[in-house]
C-alpha cells in the first residue's frame, strides 16, 4: 500500500457538487450538531470518508458496520462533511490543505464551515446570533444576501480558521458561520440558529423545532465527544478566540 497522509475517498463518485458544508467538533459542538441535523433532516446519502495517517486509530461501529469517523454525505448537489471524533490539533493544517484541494478538484464550489463562538452570557441569550466571515468578495455577497452579520473583529482558532486561510490563498469561496454558543457544553440552541442561517443560504427548509425539542437528549449523548473536543481546543489555544484583538490608542 502506498504511504499517504490524507485522502478523500468517494464510495459513490460525486460529479456535480454545488456546495460543501462542514461541521466538525469545535466550540459547543455547534458545527457537528448542525450538520448532523441537516443530514438526518434531509436524509442525505453517505457517499465517502476521509482517512489520514495522522488521525487517531479510531473506527466507529454503527449497527455492526465499521466506519471511518470522518465521513461525508450528499443531497441535491450539497456535500455535508462531519466527524464523530475531534480533529487532533496537529492534523488540522493537513486536513485544511487536503479539503481545499479536494474542493478545487470538484470545480471550487462554495465551502460553508459551521462553528460556534463562545459568549460568556450565553444563558441570557434566547436566540443566539450568527456571524460570518468570508474568504472572497463573492462569498461576502452571499453572506450579506442571507442577512448574516459579518464578524468585524476578533480571533478565529481551529479547523475552520485554517480552512478559511487556505481558501483565501487559493481564492476559493468560503463562508465561516459562527453561532453564539456555550464554550464547553454541547449547544443545540446555537445549532438551531446555524441551521436557520443555512436554510437561508442554501434555500432549504429544515425544521429547527425538532432540534430544540431534542436539546436535552443531544446534550446528554454528546457529553463525551464534547469532553474530548474540549481537550483538543485547549491544545490549540482555542480560548484565544475570547480575547480582545490588539488595538491602537
Amino acid at each position: 500500500m502506498e504511504p499517504f497522509e490524507l485522502r478523500f475517498v468517494e464510495v459513490k463518485p460525486l460529479t456535480a457538487v454545488k456546495r460543501v458544508v462542514i461541521g466538525l467538533p469545535d466550540v459547543g459542538l455547534v458545527g457537528l450538531i448542525t450538520v448532523n441535523h441537516l443530514i438526518t433532516g434531509l436524509s442525505a446519502d453517505e457517499v465517502g470518508y476521509v482517512e489520514s495517517s495522522t488521525f487517531p486509530p479510531v473506527v466507529v461501529v454503527h449497527e455492526g458496520e465499521p466506519k471511518f469517523p470522518m465521513r461525508f454525505f450528499h443531497k441535491e448537489g450539497v456535500v455535508y462533511l462531519t466527524s464523530e471524533i475531534p480533529i487532533p490539533a496537529s492534523s488540522i493544517p493537513l486536513l485544511a490543505r487536503g479539503l481545499v484541494e479536494w474542493v478545487k478538484g470538484k470545480g471550487s464550489p462554495l465551502i460553508l464551515s459551521v462553528s460556534g463562538v463562545a459568549v460568556p452570557n450565553r444563558l441570557e441569550i434566547e436566540t443566539p446570533e450568527v456571524y460570518g466571515v468570508a474568504s472572497t468578495p463573492n462569498a461576502k455577497r452571499i453572506l450579506i444576501d442571507a442577512g448574516v452579520k459579518p464578524l468585524e473583529e476578533g480571533f478565529m482558532v481551529g479547523p475552520h480558521s485554517q480552512i478559511l486561510m487556505e481558501a483565501v490563498q487559493r481564492k476559493i469561496d468560503n463562508l465561516v458561520l459562527v453561532a453564539q454558543s456555550h464554550y464547553q457544553y454541547p449547544d443545540p440552541g446555537a445549532a438551531a440558529s446555524a441551521v436557520s442561517a443555512l436554510n437561508r443560504i442554501l434555500g432549504l427548509n429544515v425544521d429547527v423545532k425538532t432540534l430544540l425539542e431534542q436539546a436535552e437528549e443531544i446534550r446528554l449523548k454528546m457529553r463525551e465527544v464534547m469532553h474530548r473536543t474540549y481537550r483538543q481546543m485547549e491544545r490549540m489555544q482555542k480560548a484565544q478566540e475570547q480575547e480582545l484583538p490588539p488595538m491602537y490608542v
Binding site: 495522522t54 487517531p56 487532533p88 496537529s90 444563558l123 464547553q184 457544553y185 454541547p186 436539546a215 436535552e216 437528549e217 446534550r219 446528554l220 457529553r223 463525551e224 464534547m226 469532553h227 481537550r231
Partner: protein, 142 residues
C-alpha cells in the same frame, strides 16, 4: 534535505504518541459507571480573585433533585435524572445499561468556605460559587 525531513518527521511522530499517552493516562477514563448507574456530567471550574466558580451541564434534571456536598477542599454533585437513560448495547460492555443519576466529585484548587457557597440552576445548567477562604486586603499605592 530528504534525510533531515525524515528525522524531524520521526520526532513529530514520537511527540504525538507521547502526547496521546499522557492525555489518555490523565483523561482517558470513561464518564459512566454501569454498576452505580451513574453518568459523569460535563463540569468546569474557573477561579477569580475571590472565588472558585464551577458550572455543570445537567440535562433531564430538576432543581429539587440536585444534592451538593461541600467541604473546604471538595465539591460533590449528585443529581437524579427525571428520565432514565437506557442503552440497549452499551459500547464495549455489549449489554443493556441504565443510568439514573449524575455524579461528580471535584477537588478544589484552594480552600473555600462551605457555609458561604451559593448555587443557582437555570435551563439545566448549574452554577456554584465557592468563596475562597484566604482573606484579601486592598493595598494603597503611594
Amino acid at each position: 534535505m530528504w534525510r533531515r525531513r525524515r528525522i524531524f518527521d520521526e520526532f513529530e511522530a514520537i511527540e504525538r504518541e507521547l502526547d496521546q499517552l499522557i492525555d489518555e493516562f490523565f483523561h482517558g477514563r470513561p464518564m459512566w459507571n454501569p454498576q452505580l448507574e451513574c453518568l459523569e456530567p460535563l463540569a468546569y471550574m474557573q477561579e477569580t480573585d475571590e472565588r472558585v466558580i464551577v458550572t455543570v451541564d445537567l440535562p433531564y434534571v430538576r432543581k429539587e433533585d440536585i444534592k451538593l456536598d461541600v467541604t473546604p477542599n471538595e465539591l460533590t454533585i449528585e443529581a437524579k435524572m427525571q428520565k432514565h437513560v437506557v442503552y440497549d448495547r452499551w459500547g464495549t460492555v455489549q449489554r443493556q445499561c441504565r443510568f439514573k443519576t449524575f455524579h461528580k466529585t471535584l477537588r478544589l484548587p484552594v480552600e473555600v468556605v462551605p457555609e458561604l457557597v451559593k448555587a443557582k440552576f437555570k435551563e439545566g445548567y448549574l452554577t456554584i460559587e465557592l468563596p475562597k477562604k484566604a482573606r484579601r486586603f486592598k493595598v494603597k499605592v503611594e
